[in-house]
């Protein structure tokens, strides 16, 4: 679906607010200050609440600072890799900045479709002078093309009103596989990622050994055998909105999805659902710059990124959505939800209380095993 929304900051608004931003239309310390820049850029993102958080946290403030800039949105992030490849083959690049997951950034980098960047030239240092590279940290900079924004996680939500559970509430990942204490339908993502890892962890494999075991045929069989125990009671989701919907309808009692979706289900829609953070699986999301931008468009993108990935802006984004800012220096600045007024820190996947038993996906491993395991997974599903 290619829904383009034309966002134009009105001139009147700009006049009214120039007082608040006394930088006379300049991004502070921008690495490309004074260079010729394009006035229209196309940003690709995920749509929905996530894109709104970007809009409010840094796109609107940026447009107030630069009233001449027009931002065109394209909500195609979920198929960004395929579309960028098609654009590259057709020789017609129409995107300037693309929001993708870390795994996709890695593939785009591999395919030569994303530009390799020096993170210190793209992102501003932290307010205390720490370089961007250190501020993001090695864990975030998973690819040479990737400019991280947020850390999110795949985690489970469960309904709190299930009679058959006799007042028990699940506390750990293996409760997902315990159909005696916690009967009812589950929902899991319709791809091997995370499911295989969780299955192995609940089959007694230590976190650090998961990928070593999963590399072997026996290990894969172990994971499938474990998943077999709940296969009959599982609904397989493909879109992030599925699990919240299924939980709200009572179709499932247990389901994995992105933690931000569960937050909005619990906090914003007030459903009888709780979060289970145990063995949440981290993933990252960030920007890539497509390879082959014109000079002027590239300058505008760099100017925008310098602003949009700084410490304050990433912390601001957490006001609108419960995803953790990718910078260490942003964490202390995370405040309250913009509308609900609740503290956001406890809802962040990176919050220490939530992250006691977190799992980190191995992107490089999945890049190798994705094709193989996916074929096996799909074949297992259809049996």
């Amino acid at each position: 679906m290619k829904l383009k929304t034309l966002m134009m900051s009105s001139a009147a608004l700009a006049v009214a607010t120039t007082g608040a931003f006394a930088q006379d239309g300049q991004t502070p310390n921008s690495p490309v200050a004074g260079e010729p820049m394009a006035d229209e850029i196309t940003i690709v993102s995920w749509g929905g609440a996530y894109q709104d958080s970007q809009l409010k946290a840094y796109v609107e403030p940026y447009q107030e600072m630069h009233p001449e800039v027009t931002i065109v949105w394209d909500e195609s992030s979920s198929e960004a890799v395929a579309k960028l490849r098609a654009m590259d083959e057709a020789g017609n690049l129409s995107w300037d900045l693309v929001d993708v997951t870390a795994a996709d950034a890695m593939r785009l980098c591999d395919e030569g479709l994303a530009m390799e960047v020096d993170i210190n030239e793209i992102a501003a240092p932290a307010p205390d002078g720490t370089s961007a590279e250190e501020d993001f940290g090695e864990d975030m900079l998973v690819s040479d093309c990737f400019i991280p924004q947020i850390a999110y996680s795949y985690t489970f939500g469960y309904r709190t009103d299930v009679d058959e559970w006799n007042g028990n509430a699940p506390t750990e990942i293996c409760d997902v596989f315990d159909t005696e204490t916690f009967p009812g339908q589950r929902s899991l993502e319709k791809r091997p990622h995370n499911n295989m890892e969780w299955a192995l962890i609940c089959d007694g494999v230590a976190f650090e050994d998961v990928y070593d075991v999963l590399e072997t045929e026996e290990g894969q069989q172990r994971a499938f055998d474990k998943l077999d125990t709940i296969k009959d009671q599982t609904v397989w989701w493909t879109s992030g909105a599925d699990t919240p919907q299924l939980l709200a309808d009572g179709e499932v009692v247990f389901g994995s999805t992105y933690n931000g979706r569960l937050f909005s289900l619990i906090a914003e829609q007030d459903q009888p659902v709780e979060m289970m953070w145990d063995a949440q699986s981290y993933d990252l999301d960030g920007w890539i710059i497509p390879e082959g931008l014109e000079e002027e468009a590239l300058n505008r993108v760099k100017d925008f990124l310098w602003f949009a990935t700084d410490t304050q802006r990433l912390a601001d984004q957490a006001k609108y959505i419960s995803y953790g800012p990718a910078r260490d220096s942003s964490a202390p600045l995370v405040g309250q939800h913009a509308e609900l007024g609740i503290d956001m820190a406890p809802h962040m996947p990176t919050n220490p209380a939530n992250a006691t038993n977190a799992f980190v996906q191995n992107y490089e491993w999945w890049a190798d095993y994705r094709d193989d395991l996916d074929a096996k997974f799909q074949s297992w599903l259809t049996q």
Binding site: G112, Q378, T382
Partner: protein, 567 residues
């Protein structure tokens, strides 16, 4: 598929075509009024007419050509195209030709691979190749990524030793003097002077040309250096006069010198070469093989080499084999391991379910169409609007509505539980399986069955049935022997429409199909947008296209395509 009854030969009388034929049959040339042979002047008149007709349909023809024929041709091409391996690893593919498939290949192959990979890494093509080969053998993606990072260290031993021998080997100028054609050196110097004078550094320098004499003197190193110069100029927009060659070029030079080449180089470069030729027998050597194994021990795995060898042809049947659960291995075509076989099952399921959907559309659509065509106009128009109403609603909305109705806590189950037909803890599974797909798709495709049926039934004169009845037929006989045969063309049209639409359906099975109700098109979409294995997607699509054409042919043979009517 043209109907012989309407062919031009069957018309008698004065048509232009017949006039042409008559002119042919006549003994002498029949002349027109202006004295030219009639045949000629008729052809001219006809040609103008045909051109005008062609002109009128040309926008449509072009449109179909660009949006339909070309994409299909592109898909067919992609399903066998595999140039990436031979283009990215040309030297390796050549060197690997004689490899028997046992153990690891020779040092020669590893050296070729080093040269290929250094160039590929410079052009950032190695990771793309890795992704391609990873479809065939797991692990190659990271193997190529990792190797691309470190491959420029291979041959470094030689670089160090040449530079230790004489610091002049560090100078890019030394290499230019050794390898470049004299006229290129001159042209490059002119360009540099001009650029300096104009302060214009944007115009590219002249393309590097190799000195033929150097090519003869250094059969290994010269071609490699030439490739280096090209890559530096094109990819990095730099100049070979500014850049030190890659370590593998030094290694190639060592190979040339140790083999006794490098005669007849004059001047300062000649002195360097002579000194080097004396020194190389004492050089410490390093094997490219060891270098690769140090980067990743998988390079010692025959399976990796077998994959490269199997997929080295620019065109491959590999994608088609994968589409029918086979695989291409060094030992020929083999079955996929059982736990990865999925496509044949999906093709069968797609065909089977499309037939079921088609059948249920006929069963549900026929009575409705019959009713519509026999009611008074005012009532039937109202009913027709009801049939068309779903057409005007978004496909996604309709499919989501089915979710609400069919899910276990949904409307239908709730009603059944309330009536007492179904126990509360044993609710029916109506969605996320084949049942869900069949129900939702039958609903969505029903109008495509009703409309052709309706328009055919509209044209069946009611007095045939009345006549049959008046001659003593029972109502059933009258319907079955008289009415039904006349409605068959409508059934044919509706069946073809519904079947072909459903065989390629994607959104609805994806949303309500769960794991057992998905179609082959869902896998095609997955390979297009997620795994990026476009070759496999194209092969699956081609097979689907072929299946539809074959079924169409069989249909034509059995029912006859002339028996299809949209009214």
């Amino acid at each position: 598929m043209t109907d012989s009854a309407t062919g031009p030969d069957q018309f008698t009388g004065a048509t232009p075509d017949n006039a042409l034929r008559d002119a042919d049959r006549a003994a002498g040339p029949v002349l027109a009024a202006d004295g030219r042979p009639l045949k000629q002047s008729l052809s001219r008149a006809l040609r103008a007419q045909k051109l005008r007709a062609l002109g009128l349909i040309s926008p449509l023809l072009l449109f179909i050509l660009i949006t339909f024929i070309l994409p299909i041709a592109d898909m067919l091409f992609r399903s066998v195209e595999n140039q990436i391996v031979s283009e990215t690893l040309p030297r390796t593919v050549l060197a690997l030709e004689d490899w028997e498939g046992e153990g690891t290949p020779d040092e020669v192959v590893f050296r070729a691979l080093a040269a290929d990979l250094v160039i590929a890494a410079e052009q950032k093509l190695h990771t793309r190749l890795g992704s391609r080969l990873n479809y065939e053998t797991t692990g190659l993606s990271s193997l190529f990524r990792k190797t691309g990072r470190d491959v420029d260290e291979i041959g470094e031993v030689y670089l160090d030793q040449f530079e230790a021998l004489d610091p002049a080997w560090e100078e890019p100028g030394t290499w230019v003097a050794l390898m470049a054609a004299p006229d290129w050196i001159e042209a490059q110097a002119d360009w540099a002077a001009q650029a300096e004078a104009d302060r214009d550094f944007d115009s590219p320098e002249p393309r590097f040309r190799l000195d033929p004499a150097a090519g003869e003197a250094f059969p290994v190193a010269a071609p490699l250096y030439q490739r280096f110069a090209e890559v530096i100029q094109v990819e990095n927009e730099d100049s070979p006069t500014e850049e030190e060659p890659w370590p593998i070029v030094y290694q190639a030079l060592y190979e040339d010198l140790i083999a006794g080449h490098g005669e007849g180089v004059a001047g300062e470069a000649g002195r360097l070469i002579a000194a080097a030729r004396d020194a190389v027998p004492g050089f410490e050597t390093a094997s490219a093989r060891e270098g690769f194994l140090e980067i990743d021990e998988d390079w010692g795995n025959p399976e990796v080499w077998g994959t490269i060898q199997s997929f080295s042809d620019p065109y491959t049947a590999g994608y088609f084999l994968s589409s029918i659960d086979l695989q291409l291995t060094p030992n020929g075509v083999e079955k996929q391991p059982e736990d990865q076989q999925i496509y044949i099952l999906l093709f069968q399921r797609t065909l089977f379910m499309s037939l079921v959907i088609m059948g249920s559309c006929v069963l549900l659509g026929y009575p409705i169409a019959f009713l519509l065509s026999n009611l008074p106009l005012r009532t039937s128009n109202l009913l027709l609007i009801l049939v068309l109403l779903p057409f005007w609603t978004s496909l996604l909305v309709r499919t989501s509505a089915w979710k609400v109705l069919l899910q276990q806590q949904g409307v239908i189950n709730d009603v059944l539980v309330w009536i007492g037909l179904v126990a509360d803890n044993n609710r029916l599974e109506l969605i996320n399986n084949q049942t869900g797909t069949i129900i939702a798709m039958t609903h969505i495709l029903l109008p495509f069955m009703i409309l052709p049926l309706y328009s055919v039934m509209k044209t069946i004169p009611p007095y045939y049935v009345r006549a049959a009845k008046s001659l003593g037929a029972t109502p059933f006989t009258a319907f079955w022997r008289v009415y039904f045969p006349q409605s068959v063309p409508g059934i044919g049209a509706g069946c073809i429409l519904v079947f072909i639409l459903s065989i390629g359906y994607y959104i609805t099975p994806e949303l309500v199909g769960g794991t057992t109700g998905t179609f082959i098109s869902n896998r095609i979409a997955y390979h297009i947008s997620q795994s990026l294995n476009w070759g496999l997607a194209a092969a699956l699509g081609s097979i689907l296209l072929a299946v539809v054409l074959v079924l169409y042919y069989i249909y034509d043979k059995i029912v006859g395509i002339d028996n299809v009517s949209l009214g």
